[in-house]
Symmetry: C2
Subunit: 130 residues, 2 copies
């Protein structure tokens, strides 16, 4: 089974667009600042929704929406951890934590503008080919 | 960029284990009923966390945790929508909505035991090869 859509929530989608598209370099599939930002990744999409616009029944999909700090990880290729660390620091994004796991895989934790906890992690963390 | 980890939150991880492992057939990588259920998917992992155990600082990773209804979608292969619909209904899981999108891709929406909104969707929805 594969994941097709991963979802995070953010109320300020302009800030999310700046962060995910301009800083992280993701491709926007569609952007409605009032409701959603759809981002294309390799083999899947990442969606930022405004929870306040999705927890109410509407003519679209069933209601959903979270408050708090969501979490997800991007796969980091060889050398990615260091280069992302530099890029994030240059953009004044706080590096919250760095971990080298027991099997040698590395993780880098940082916040998005809404406080979601993001991570770059080397796929070997889960015995996945990078 | 690829997604390596997708996260949902659930307080009752025993119910989550029953649902994701026994009903959906996902492989559990690790299961700590007090804190987390790690599930192996093709090329990534899905993690169910108890938000009440992750929003507090601990010796591990930075705090995170959401309340409400998260959302994610699994990729559905040809014929999967129909077969999953039958399996879910046989397990008394409510089918919340079925959609055929403008480009012909189909989606099936259903809840997990914690109220997260799950979806099976055909990858062509996002011009992704199935």
């Amino acid at each position: 089974m594969k994941i097709l859509e991963t979802v995070l929530y953010a109320e300020d989608l302009h800030a999310a667009h700046h962060f995910y598209v301009e800083l992280l370099g993701l491709e926007a599939i569609s952007f409605n600042p009032e409701r959603s930002l759809f981002l294309r990744l390799t083999g899947s999409v990442l969606i930022l929704f405004r929870a306040t616009k999705t927890i109410i029944p509407d003519a679209g999909v069933p209601p959903h929406g979270c408050t708090g700090q969501g979490h997800m990880a991007f796969a980091a290729g060889p050398g990615d951890i260091e280069s992302w660390k530099q890029r994030l620091q240059a953009a004044n994004i706080e590096i919250l934590q760095e971990i080298t796991w027991e099997n040698g895989a590395r993780s880098l934790y940082f916040p998005d503008p809404s406080g979601n906890l993001l991570e770059f992690a080397e796929p070997k963390l889960w015995d996945i080919e990078g």
